[in-house]
């Protein structure tokens, strides 16, 4: 597998049709937003809130990789204008034709060349019933090789969309057919599994909403909304270029400075007073963890990636890491205009202080007139989900046993500019923030995946990343302990994703999880040790990896196989 991945990477670099253009050092501008006009493919430092001096020695530095932008050099007007997402209701046996292509997007008042599935942003919302199976005939019409990964679905391995593992890359003009299965109710999403840092960031993502078979699965609500949270990194010239041969922003991931909700900067919703809205929320950002706050309303957490919680719970915010999903019911009780915000404590690295930061993600207009059918009573009752508890019964005896495998999350860097390394060595950032978009953007921007090795290490064997090759049998219940080493060179919270299976976070830092939910992605905070109990129910060759796009492409992934009849090793 490792052999294949290595050669595939080399092949993709050779096949890449994009030629890096000249690097214009004069485009560097410490103020960021005040760039002059010029070729937008030239490297220029991302615009940030500059409240500190430039790190000495980096004044004219640019990434070691070449810059890449979609459709670079072509007139944006030749591409079709993207359209808002449409819902595709699919019955068992239906077929969807899905195409990835270049589109023109207007965000704010700016026009960008981006990507879209079926020219939509986000891609089509596939709505299907639990237990159904559908076919997706995919065609690639972007300039990069791609695949489609159906995130969270426990589908057949051949349709998992991992290049070099389950399928070859889909080159421009080629097609691939995926068979989708929906064994679990909930909200799922699809995205490329090649250069996500570019392709996903430029708009290749969409949701799958799997409806329950029985009506009482969720509480009754007045309305359902599917929210996709994202961010995009732009300046006055356009989208800040991506790394061509390898991603930039390899240390912290690429944080954007324009927040997008369902691909828009002005998401709005109008409801009547007293409405209960069920939001299905997905974070598709490369690196940003959102802390979503519904101002002027009360929120109740209902479900996450692959199931409902054992018990519903009222929350003041929704903390959602890249690739995670949450289902939240919100009661809008008072008339008025309310914001949906991302509220975090950002970091001023230079001063060594945290400070509050807010991003507007949307607006909800609550009318004066009361809703005709009130679901307040059901909202006020936090359900205990007996069906979830019953499903968990056969796993409870496994919760307290010794882990089968222990992983450590860490990193190595090589060939980074010395000022960056020296600065990191004396860093006083003892508690990593959720929001890394601080006053030292050049350090992050200048780090490429060629200089940073994010590492998943098997503590028992010393093997790392794709050299880890576990084997399990179908039906195995495997306990994996994951430790995010706080003393690594650059600790970060990592959203850890396991393909093709579902897992429980049974404990964190020795504290048992009192309210379980089936997950496919969970954030592992710096310094924490989390115990995952993985239900190896689905045969095939699978991956597990950090879902920060730049970390994945800096090596932070492992492989495992699940075979019929074998026991775990």
């Amino acid at each position: 597998m490792k052999y294949l991945m290595r050669h595939l990477t080399v092949a993709l670099v050779i096949l890449s049709p994009i030629v890096a253009m000249g690097q214009d050092h004069n485009m560097m501008n410490h103020a960021g937003m005040e760039m002059g006009a010029g070729d937008s493919l030239a490297w220029r430092m991302p615009p940030m809130n500059m409240s500190m001096p430039m790190l000495p020695g980096l004044e004219n530095a640019v990434p070691v990789v070449g810059p890449f932008l979609a459709g670079q050099g072509m007139n944006p007007m030749i591409f079709p204008e993207g359209e808002p997402r449409r819902v595709v209701e699919m019955a068992d046996g239906d077929t969807l034709h899905l195409e990835a292509s270049l589109i023109r997007r207007t965000i704010g008042e700016k026009v960008f060349v981006m990507y879209g599935y079926n020219r939509q942003y986000p891609g089509p919302l596939i709505r299907a019933e639990r237990g159904s199976e559908v076919t997706v005939h995919f065609t690639n019409n972007i300039e990069l090789p791609t695949t489609v990964h159906w995130h969270g679905l426990r589908l057949d391995n051949a349709s998992d969309g991992v290049p070099g593992v389950t399928q070859p890359p889909v080159l421009r003009g080629e097609s691939f057919t995926y068979q989708l299965k929906f064994p679990d109710t909930g909200i799922y999403w699809y995205h490329p599994h090649m250069r996500e840092d570019i392709q996903q960031d430029l708009g290749l993502y969409g949701n799958m909403l799997v409806d329950p078979e029985n009506e009482g699965y969720y509480s009754p609500v007045n309305r359902e909304e599917v929210l996709v949270l994202d961010d995009l990194l732009v300046d006055a010239t356009g989208i800040i270029p991506y790394g061509d041969e390898a991603p930039t922003h390899a240390l912290m991931g690429r944080f954007g400075n324009v927040m997008l909700t369902n691909g828009m900067t002005d998401y709005g919703l109008s409801v009547q007073r007293g409405e209960v809205v069920r939001f299905y929320i997905t974070n598709v950002a490369n690196s940003r963890t959102f802390n979503l706050v519904f101002e002027g309303a009360r929120a109740k957490i209902v479900a996450s990636d692959v199931s409902k919680y054992e018990r519903e719970d009222y929350v003041s915010s929704v903390v959602i890491a890249p690739a995670e999903r949450y289902v939240v019911e919100v009661l809008f009780d008072e008339p008025g205009t309310f914001s949906i915000k991302n509220k975090v404590q950002a970091i001023n690295h230079f001063r060594g202080v945290f400070y509050p930061e807010e991003h507007l993600l949307g607006t909800v207009e609550v009318g004066e007139d009361a809703v005709s059918v009130s679901h307040r009573e059901e909202f006020e009752m936090a359900r205990v989900n007996l069906d979830v508890a019953e499903d968990l019964l056969r796993y409870r005896s496994e919760f307290d046993r010794t882990p089968d495998h222990t992983l450590e999350l860490t990193l190595r860097v090589k060939g980074l500019p010395l000022p960056i390394v020296r600065s990191m060595e004396i860093d006083t950032l003892y508690v990593p923030p959720v929001e890394w978009n601080d006053a030292m953007p050049m350090m992050n921007w200048l780090s490429s995946a060629e200089q940073v090795d994010w590492v998943i290490r098997d503590v028992d064997t010393g093997r790392e990343n794709m050299d880890i090759d576990w084997s399990f049998g179908v039906g195995d219940v495997v306990k994996i302990r994951v430790f995010n080493n706080p003393k690594s060179f650059h600790p970060m919270h990592h959203p850890f994703h396991i393909h093709g299976q579902r897992f429980l976070v049974v404990s964190m830092d020795g504290v048992k999880n009192p309210n379980l939910v089936w997950k496919d992605t969970a954030i592992v905070p710096v310094g924490s040790t989390m115990d995952f109990l993985v239900d190896m129910s689905n045969p095939g060759d699978w991956m597990a990896h950090c879902h920060i796009a730049e970390h994945l492409h800096s090596g932070m992934m492992l492989g495992f196989s699940v075979t019929e009849g074998d026991r775990s090793q």
């Binding site: 060594g352 960056i420 508690v431 954030i523 040790t529």
Partner: protein, 185 residues
């Protein structure tokens, strides 16, 4: 000869313009630190005596810091601050003859203070804190100070969250030439 000189000058110039880069830095293979299943030692707060009280001169303790229970794993408040659960324990502390030992958390500026609770007979107490940077103090109060906004008695032990070690980079390291005063320090 002229060509050689030109070439040498070119190479020297090119070398001077090349950004110096680091060798491999980071965690070498097989050097993992201990993986436990309890509170992370990394965030633990050492509580040290102020030596101000009889019976407390040899006191020492710690506050284990774990993320508060959250359906999201990572616990954040509505303003984005981390929410931690503190588990405080003090050793070598004589029982309070008059009054009670009470644990508090406060911001580094001391402008906000929250009572965590009175220490039990084993000199332990737990409570939650919703700040990214904070101090922990245990004071000797006349009573358990329930409902009190702040402490009034002497501080027995104190400690600082790991994030309290964060400070400005002005005036040292790569920013040695930056005057601290410009940045308000």
């Amino acid at each position: 000869m002229k060509r050689l000189l030109f070439l040498a000058a070119f190479l020297l110039t090119a070398g001077a313009l090349t950004l110096p880069v680091s060798p491999s830095v980071g965690s070498p293979a097989g050097s993992t630190c201990a993986v436990g299943d309890g509170p992370p030692r990394y965030y633990a707060i050492d509580l040290v005596t102020t030596r101000r009280l009889p019976g407390a001169r040899m006191a020492r303790g710690k506050a284990d810091v774990v993320f508060a229970r959250s359906p999201f794993g990572l616990a954040l408040s509505a303003d984005g601050s981390y929410v931690y659960e503190l588990l405080i324990s003090i050793d070598n502390l004589a029982p309070a003859r008059n009054g009670a030992y009470v644990a508090w958390v406060t911001t580094p500026q001391l402008d906000q203070r929250v009572r965590l609770g009175a220490l039990d007979a084993d000199h332990k107490v737990s409570g939650s804190v919703g700040w990214n940077k904070f101090l922990v103090v245990v004071t000797l109060e006349d009573d358990e100070a329930e409902g009190a906004q702040s402490w009034t008695g002497p501080v027995v032990v104190r400690g600082m969250s790991r994030s309290g070690l964060m400070h400005t980079q002005a005036g040292h390291g790569p920013f040695e030439a930056e005057p601290c005063a410009v940045y308000g320090y």
